[in-house]
């Protein structure tokens, strides 16, 4: 064959392995070779598990040889963001405080991917503790955008998005607290979904902001997204926030038909702040969907302008509680420079945490402190209610919302590192879905004049991932541009 295995979608690989056209070992080797040849430029992986991956693949092949069903992802190579606890390798959240940490257990999502026949290629780069929008806050390395190596891949799941874009894995797992799956997916031209809060168990996902965090897949197309969601979603006795709501067969949502769907365009997402190329590509996608019979209506989410501030207060507050555990007692870095317990707590964190993490811990501590709690934290919780009510009202008039995923395409490396407020604003289109707990997916919708991907975001009612898949799938079938693949240069 002229195509290499690493160029195929997860679904196509699964089929090729299942019908004996290739083996899990051959597919895995193809990906390991691909990583070897391009990751020096991209920097997506912080750990590659060559030997372990080939062992997993051999087991899959042996099961298939015995005529067993090796699972819906049998032979599909998967990359894991370093936020997921894995018994194999280390789990560091790309932070010095967790350098060398070996998890004694696998995250529920890792267990589910493995049970489904997925093969783990290794751990992917991220902003330290998932705090960032460019992956530049990683304490380990820089990840570059495969479409243009001078540009960021987005963040915090920048390694996951870059690995998909550069064909260094067929399926990647990311986490999304305020856009950390969708924004890098948009910047790197892949599909990325933050499912409804509670759809995917958080057990073993290192916590950043627990009321907002949600794990989800990054994939090459919408079909692969449905395949991955079928494996990841569903209740978990180890996460009481994992929802008991019935999980459908998401593959059934892959229907080329939007004729009974009403799509709302929230006017607050189409402002002067949009880059011209982004506006043009997203408007063109709206025309494609209208051409397929979707009804398009204008809607309003009046509190959108406050979402980034609400998000920032809540995520910092929750992070300041969650990250208190890195005190040097049970795991992680312990300062050698500590004569008493207080010194040990303080120095262990202070010696290792990066500037962005410290900034957020301080902000979080401040908004929770006496005298500021009501003005900031409680206020943010109240405005969060208003933001959710905005969505409830909008969904009385439409079935899903369509927006640009990010107001701009990827920016240059180093461009925003000195401007925290500007960096936070690259999340303004994505944070609301986390605050409201609703599902949202980014789908590639073309390239800018300079060849950088643009993403459109679809947001739905709680637990209605299916409508996002259906609209995204239909759009993909009729997309008016060929996305192509990045040249990695």
């Amino acid at each position: 064959m002229s195509r290499e295995w690493y160029q195929l979608t997860a679904f196509a690989l699964r089929e090729a392995v299942r019908n004996g056209e290739t083996s899990a070992v051959e597919v895995t080797q193809s990906y390991l070779d691909r990583i070897q040849s391009v990751d020096g430029k991209v920097g997506a992986y912080v750990e590659v598990w060559d030997a372990h991956a080939l062992q997993q693949a051999e087991k899959i092949d042996a099961r298939l040889k015995r005529g067993e069903d090796a699972g819906p992802l049998a032979g599909v190579p998967v990359g894991l963001k370093d936020v997921f606890c894995t018994k194999q390798g280390t789990t560091t959240c790309c932070s010095k405080v967790l350098k060398g940490y070996r998890s004694p257990f696998d995250a529920t999502v890792v267990e589910r991917l493995e049970a489904a026949g997925g093969i783990f290629l290794g751990k992917l780069n991220m902003d330290e503790f998932a705090m960032g929008a460019s992956t530049e806050n990683s304490a380990v390395q820089v990840t570059r955008n495969p479409w243009n190596l001078d540009y960021v891949p987005g963040g915090s799941s920048g390694g996951s998005a870059a690995a998909i874009a550069a064909s260094e894995c067929a399926l990647a797992l990311g986490s999304d607290t305020g856009g950390s799956i969708r924004q890098p997916a948009a910047y790197c031209g892949c599909v990325g979904m933050k499912p409804t809060y509670g759809r995917v168990p958080r057990h073993g996902v290192v916590a950043f902001a627990s009321s907002l965090d949600q794990a989800g897949p990054l994939t090459r197309d919408v079909r692969d997204m449905a395949l991955a969601l079928n494996v990841l979603c569903g209740q978990d006795p180890r996460d009481s926030t994992a929802s008991p709501v019935q999980v459908p067969d998401f593959a059934r949502a892959l229907r080329d038909d939007v004729s009974d769907i009403t799509i709302g365009l929230p006017r607050e997402y189409f402002t002067d702040a949009l880059a011209d190329d982004v506006r043009a590509r997203v408007e063109s996608a709206v025309i494609v969907l209208r051409g397929q019979g979707a009804r398009i209506v204008d809607v309003s989410l009046p509190h959108t302008d406050y979402a980034a501030a609400v998000y920032f207060i809540i995520c910092c507050a929750e992070a300041s509680a969650n990250l208190a555990r890195f005190d040097g007692v049970r795991y992680g870095h312990r300062s050698a420079n500590a004569s008493d317990v207080r010194d040990m707590y303080v120095n262990s964190k202070s010696e290792t945490l990066g500037a962005e993490v410290k900034r957020r811990l301080l902000m979080g501590t401040h908004v929770l402190s006496v005298g500021h709690y009501d003005a900031y934290y409680l206020k943010a919780l109240k405005v969060r209610t208003l933001i959710r009510q905005d969505f409830e009202k909008a969904f009385e008039r439409c079935d899903l919302l369509l927006t640009p995923t990010s107001p701009t395409p990827a920016f240059k490396l180093g461009r925003k590192t000195a401007e925290p407020v500007e960096m936070y604003q690259s999340d303004i289109h994505t944070v609301s879905a986390n605050l409201a707990g609703i599902p949202a997916m980014s789908v590639p919708c073309g390239l800018t004049g300079s060849g950088l991907p643009v993403g459109l975001q679809l947001m739905g009612r709680p637990f209605d991932e299916e409508i996002l898949l259906r609209a995204g799938y239909t759009y993909e079938q009729h997309r008016d541009v060929d996305m192509g693949v990045p040249g990695i240069g």
């Binding site: 060398g100 940490y101 070996r102 004694p104 257990f105 809060y197 509670g198 009321s211 006795p237 926030t241 929802s243 509190h303 406050y306 980034a308 609400v310 920032f312 300041s320 005190d327 040097g328 007692v329 049970r330 795991y331 992680g332 312990r334 500590a338 004569s339 008493d340 317990v341 207080r342 010194d343 040990m344 303080v346 964190k349 202070s350 945490l353 500037a355 410290k358 900034r359 811990l361 301080l362 902000m363 979080g364 501590t365 401040h366 402190s369 900031y376 206020k379 919780l381 109240k382 405005v383 969060r384 209610t385 208003l386 959710r388 925290p420 407020v421 936070y424 605050l435 409201a436 707990g437």
Partner: protein, 97 residues
């Protein structure tokens, strides 16, 4: 919220159990000042009659049977410990005497 000084930052750092050098304090005072002036826009909204959102899902409490199940072995629990005697995590002395 008025201007944030390096002394304010030091006070919050004390609460957050972080220690910062003078350079960090100065930079963080600037950053936090900019961030707080951005956050203050929330004051434009009247929320006197709005309930705070405590949880995004309308879930009721989740119960399970209280069953004994296998948990981490001591070896597993200690495998990342900075200091242990094999039975306990060891930390610097807490009480004098």
């Amino acid at each position: 919220m008025g201007k944030i000084t390096p002394e304010d930052v030091e006070q919050v750092a004390e609460l957050a159990q972080l220690t910062l050098d003078d350079d960090e304090k100065r930079r963080l005072a600037e950053d936090m000042g900019a961030i707080f002036s951005y956050l203050d826009k929330l004051n434009d909204l009247n929320t006197d009659h709005t309930e705070p959102m405590m949880h995004v899902l309308d879930m009721i409490n989740v119960y399970r049977d209280d069953e004994v199940k296998p948990s981490l072995t001591r070896e597993e629990a200690f495998q990342n410990a900075p200091q242990t005697d094999g039975e306990y995590f060891l930390v610097p002395k807490i009480l004098e005497g």
